[in-house]
Symmetry: C2
Subunit: 694 residues, 2 copies
């Protein structure tokens, strides 16, 4: 690097620079807006096709589907996920407190609809544990299990119908809310879900699901707790009733876990060697059903079984519209959580595979899939973590053939509920494993670690929806805190260059005599107003006493100048003023001008602009001039419109720090010259008692 | 400005600049921390005195109190506010649903304690309408008015004792919470209350207070509504019961309002001419009492009167500790609202008069005053807007003698409650007038206007505490949005200078050929990651097709180079590659390098750093080099620690944009030279079918 930077040019204030290089005239805002709109509203056929392709992504990717190359991988992936969905659908139906068959339906309809409208290619849609759990607690509240409940009684069918009515009403309302959000283009909300939030949330939600399954695993029949602290309440209830454990069900659970956990471990560890993962869940269900059938476990040991599963395609059925007022609040929470999890999951996989997710389109896709499938006795659906993972490892390219599952006759009504509960719990394995990320997170970023911990704790301790909200707000708070606690550093000049850098880590940069160059590295707004003010006065070393003395000195100087001009002679005053003037110029030697480098001030609000004005008047009082440099367009605009220019010379706003320093140094030479004149003048004046110009 | 900026120096990358001007060696973090701590822990006598002065501000300002100069103004201000406090204390006691005498106590104890510990010199402490209302609804919930209530019955005393027990328990718990917050130094929370929030909140809260007073003004005895939508519920209830209006009380209210409103208007309009404002409230109370006494209104027209007022100093009484679990939730809300209003009021006046408020010290002051006074049958207190205003206009310098009110015998037990209700409503006059600020706010800042409207609507529609929370969160969201939707502009060089400015508003700046200089004016973090990415690729004009073709061209070029070096001859490939190479260099002519000016990137988080890495690899794929300039210290650190340097040449990070441009232009000359060689080489190679170096 032999070559050099060579510059020789005029000093530029913002005004002069604008004149030299700025645009001639800003187009009127109305005109610009019209142009913009005109640019958008091209209603050609092509534009319509593009829009259609955006809204129904199936159209845009189906023609480019490479049938021969991808079909095999996709078919295998589809089959695998389909088979996995069967036991999981049933298990999640247990969480939702509806009959297992509805879980199967929910694993089918939303998937087909999402395939048409969704943009996430690796996302498996269907039943999701947390959403199921949240829906389940609403269902339990509205249609509580009667105390003496006989699953074979004629009321049972009516009861089940009521339950799925409520669940599908939730799905419908949730779909409608999503469609409204799509209408309002609220998809951007998903950006607030950073990775630590999503991971902590899913990990903590896994605890909720596990605890809710404890009673099924132990064979207890307990009421469900909802709301804040529900996890601990449920745990306490289970502890109290430990003595009523059904030993047969406990045994089943232990056996199930003993098989499921190691096999799933094998599935994960050897995922690359296995062509498809071992479908251990479905094997488990089949074996359990056979065992129950041949040993009639259900009657002899009072084991709760899945119960009647109707055959064939579901009959369309209207959701329970009349429950809308009762479910509205919870449904909003379910919708947000479901959408949040779905989109953030889709985003994580899209990032990995280099395509992009359109949050608004996702809203549309999930909205349609929930709305339509609610008429086919489905409960709310979303993306599911467990099967999404498998889909990816099985090599699914698109969601074309994700499902060949047979939703027809299925003789597993004898399967014990404990088996499904175990399937539920083991499906959350990955979520529990997210604790392993924590040390790495701590190393890379303490803030992200804190976000993780706060989200996790609030979800576990409080509630799923409230916890997620707290996590999001906390995460935003960290951003706000970063903008608030910005660095304020004193800059020094790297000798022989036009570069100015913080003195604290550039020991060979030197302060320009008489000028404090300050740099604030963040916006100035209501949130950090007082912080900025404090920092400034500390950096300038302005203690109240110093301010008072400087103010006095400046006033005396002004008075002196005034008196000198009117030529009134009064020796005593002249003497005191003389010392004040001296003192003034002495302090002046350290700070005569403050130059604020605004290159890091990304925006200023009204409160911040007012602070600037205050600072200018205060500095003016103590005889310090304020200069600005590197202001961006929007900052300049708000500073001007809030009336800063009435307190500050517009010629004191420079294009770069170096321009300002050059200008100030020139002024210093001039002032020093004037000062010499004044002192000489005063000297003559006091000595003779007669005023005479030099 | 005849002089010029003249620079002649080497090109600096960050590394080289650090070597030339940076600090020798960073001190180890542990050492620096120890130094910092050592700097803080000077346990000298002086430090203790400073701390004491900070904690008990009375000590620091009492010696400098100018007795002769300030005593008169303060005495008058004190008397005025004292007299005003008497009727208002009683009126607010009505809001709190306790006997009026407790309102008088609450106007006395907290004031004295705040005087000792508080830092706000113009703040009048005591009863505050919103806090009283919130406390009142808790009191009503826990100790509801019996249906057949006779205020003279022996149970009445017991009933009143229960009520004040709950109210003072709230005060105690609120004080304890504030002290805990002080312990945790949570005073900074008050910075989140921007002026629009506080103004909208107080204005909307005034509506709540007014509606809650309607029933007293109309002489209705209705249950109190609490929680969300309470304003509308109460209004509906009042409407339903309009027919039961007590005409006598309605008459009293109308007369009261007819007197109070104009006199208060006079008080405000001629505040500078009037030595003290007309104490119309107390006159009103006295007149009403006299009228009731002589005409025995209470018995003949069934008018609700204030009732028994005990004489003398209050007897210390324990708050109702056992209610703590029941009041905890509401008390947290009351505490936050009270603290928020107090500190933001104090701040507004401190800003006006040029001293500063210490939010943490305010927590201590309000905490102590609530805790201690709760043992003297006081309900929660805070700063009050109404009297604070008067205090300022009456010329109070400090809060020394703010109170000489006589809390002893006071024969106004006959005063009708309607009068107090009218006093309450008219005291909110100023809050209603805040609507006048709206047009100005709209003009200056649309965002602040939106914050105002959102806060106001949520407080009015939902609830006082929830509304405030929504306002604060919304206000934060606006800040977050500003950091998210930052401008991304293409910079151009002002000819013959080292200054680079956005092309959009500097039409006479020109793009440096072959380099896209981008500037992003905000942090890069999880919230705007996708936004930043989108902007970047739009600015670079990178459509998916373009990326694919460039990638192909680059690969072909690499292959060609490889093949050329191993001297394998194959004419066909050479031909196609040749066209690709040509195409590559053609596109190369518009973007060969991307230079990102990071001066506005105030921070980067882990997600943002990962995005940088992704961008680098993507750009590398299509043969574009990435350069950075003007990175600040913290951004550089996180980019380095997250492994960006594995994908990017550290020599591509420059100190200024100009350095980078100089370097790139030198490189271009070099590359162009090489390119000429390659094309020549290939030409020879393809023409002869034999590889020969030039």
């Amino acid at each position: 690097m032999s070559a050099s930077v060579a510059v020789y040019r005029d000093i530029y204030t913002e005004d002069r620079f604008k004149q030299a290089y700025g645009s001639e005239e800003d187009a009127p805002a109305g005109l610009r807006l019209r142009e913009k709109l005109a640019g958008k509203c091209r209603c050609s056929r092509r534009a319509w096709l593009t829009l259609l392709g955006e809204r129904v992504p199936l159209i845009s990717w189906l023609p480019s589907y490479r049938l021969r190359k991808w079909i095999l991988g996709d078919a295998i992936a589809g089959l695998t996920v389909g088979i996995l969905h069967i036991p999981q659908g049933m298990a999640f139906a247990l969480l939702t407190s509806v009959a297992p068959i509805y879980g199967l339906y929910t694993s089918f309809f939303p998937v087909v609809l999402y395939m048409i409208f969704g943009t996430g290619r690796h996302v498996s849609t269907g039943t999701f544990a947390v959403i199921s759990l949240m829906t389940g607690s609403v269902v339990e509240q509205l249609v509580p299990t009667p105390l003496a409940f006989n699953s074979s009684s004629p009321e049972a069918a009516e009861f089940e119908a009521q339950r799925i009515g409520v669940a599908s009403a939730i799905a419908l309302l949730s779909g409608i809310i999503m469609l409204c959000m799509f209408g309002l283009q609220l998809g951007f909300l998903s950006t607030y879900l950073s990775e630590p939030i999503v991971k902590a949330f899913t990990s903590a939600a896994a605890f909720h699901v596990t605890v809710s399954q404890l009673q099924s695993m132990l064979g207890l029949r307990l009421p469900r707790h909802t709301g804040t602290f529900s996890l601990f309440k449920t745990l306490a209830l289970v502890m109290e009733n430990l003595s009523h454990t059904n030993m047969a069900e406990l045994l089943i659970s232990v056996v199930c876990l003993a098989v499921l956990v190691p096999v799933k471990e094998v599935n994960t560890r050897y995922r690359h060697r296995l062509r498809t993962p071992i479908p251990v869940e479905i094997l488990m269900v089949i074996i359990a059903t056979c065992v129950t059938y041949f040993s009639s476990l259900d009657s002899s040991y009072n084991i709760e079984i899945v119960g009647h599963i109707p055959a064939g395609f579901p009959k369309p059925q209207l959701p329970a519209f009349h429950t809308f007022p009762a479910i509205a609040g919870d449904t909003v929470a379910i919708t947000f959580v479901g959408y949040a999890v779905s989109v953030s999951l889709a985003m994580i996989y899209a990032d990995k595979h280099g395509y992009s997710i359109h949050p608004n389109q996702e809203l549309l896709a999930h909205g349609i899939s929930n709305t339509v499938s609610s008429f086919f006795t489905c409960f709310p659906s979303s993306a599911t973590l467990a099967t999404t993972n498998i889909l990816e490892s099985a090599g699914g390219h698109t969601q074309v053939i994700k499902k060949e599952q047979d939703v027809s006759t299925y003789p597993c009504h004898l399967c014990p509920q404990a088996v499904l509960a175990c399937i539920n719990v083991t499906s959350l394995r990955q979520m529990f494993l997210q604790f392993q990320d924590l040390p790495e997170l701590w190393r890379v970023s303490k803030l992200d670690f804190m976000v993780w911990v706060v989200t996790w704790l609030s979800v576990v301790v409080l509630n799923v929806d409230l916890g997620l909200a707290i996590g999001v707000v906390f995460s935003m708070m960290t951003v706000i805190c970063r903008t608030q606690r910005a660095e304020c550093s004193v800059l020094g000049q790297a000798s022989n260059t036009e570069i100015y850098r913080p003195l604290e880590n550039h020991s060979k940069c030197y302060e320009v005599p008489g000028v404090k160059i300050l740099m604030y590295n963040g916006p100035i707004y209501y949130g950090n107003r007082s912080f900025f003010r404090e920092k400034m006065s500390r950096v300038l070393g302005l203690t109240p006493e110093k301010i008072r003395s400087r103010e006095k000195a400046r006033k005396a100087l002004e008075k002196r100048e005034r008196e000198a001009s009117v030529s009134t002679v009064e020796r005593g005053v002249a003497n005191t003023s003389f010392s004040s003037v001296n003192e003034f110029f002495e302090t002046e030697k350290d700070v005569q001008a403050v130059l604020i480098d605004c290159s890091g001030v990304i925006f200023v609000d009204v409160a911040g602009a007012r602070l600037f004005t205050q600072m200018c008047t205060e500095c003016h009082k103590i005889g310090i001039h304020v200069y600005l440099a590197n202001c961006n367009e929007s900052v300049l605009k708000i500073l001007t419109s809030s009336g800063l220019m009435r307190h500050m010379n517009p010629q004191h706003i420079f294009v770069t720090v170096h321009d300002a320093v050059m200008y100030i140094q020139q002024q210093r030479v001039k002032i020093h010259h004037e000062y010499m004149c004044i002192t000489k003048y005063i000297y003559i004046y006091t000595a003779n008692g007669i005023c005479s110009p030099i």
